[in-house]
């Protein structure tokens, strides 16, 4: 996906759909990487990293401003919780 559109609006809604589908498809085979951060771009795994910061750093270095997904590997999805009444921006996935 290109990044040709002006960076003036919050672009969301399905940018990471394919990458997330790739993650979910391959997750059962990634048990040995539990807790690490997967860097996925173009529905392909680039690598696993020990920290979120490292994965983000490599993501921008390798893929620039084109969308990429960083997701911590958990065999059981870790659900985040916010007790306060907020309206989260739902992903288009």
């Amino acid at each position: 996906m290109s990044d040709d559109k002006p960076d003036t609006v919050l672009k969301r809604g399905g940018l990471l759909k394919e990458d997330l589908a790739f993650y979910n498809r391959n997750l059962p085979e990634w048990g040995e990487h539990e807790g690490k951060y997967a860097l996925i771009h173009g529905a392909q795994l680039f690598d696993f990293y020990d920290s979120y910061e490292d994965a983000i750093k490599v993501g921008y270095a390798e893929f620039g401003l084109t969308p990429f997904l960083v997701k911590q590997v958990h065999m059981v999805e870790q659900v985040q919780f916010v007790s306060r009444l907020v309206a989260p921006e739902l992903a288009g996935v």
Binding site: V9, R12, I56, L65, K71, Q80, F81, V82, P88
Partner: protein, 134 residues
Amino acid sequence: MNAVVTVSRSRAAALKTANKPVPKPVPIRALVDTGASCSSVDPDVLAKLSLTPTGVASLFTSSTGAQPHDCDQYDVGLLIPGPPGAQPFLKETVPVVAASFFEHHGFHALVGRDVLSSCVLTYNGSMGWFTLAF
């Protein structure tokens, strides 16, 4: 409390490489929320930083009903000023989800336990104050 949200350090480097301007840091009011496992920022603030999502988080709130929802996640930098002369708290790359807050709440972000895990939070209820050490 006052805080500042920026693009992450890595995104700033990528913007410079692409000869694109780095958005100015956005000053905000943030609320320390020990009831939040993750930090969140108002979409209007994220829009000012021209961010694109780099993650997806499964989020459960009192407004999402019985099921968690997938939410876009963004990498940002977060700065919390310290007292005069002291170093600020600075996280150059932290994941946040986009969440709207009611305007009358008067804040633009929740600082959740993911960030608080790098600090020592002391709440003195009888005195009506808290301290955040980092």
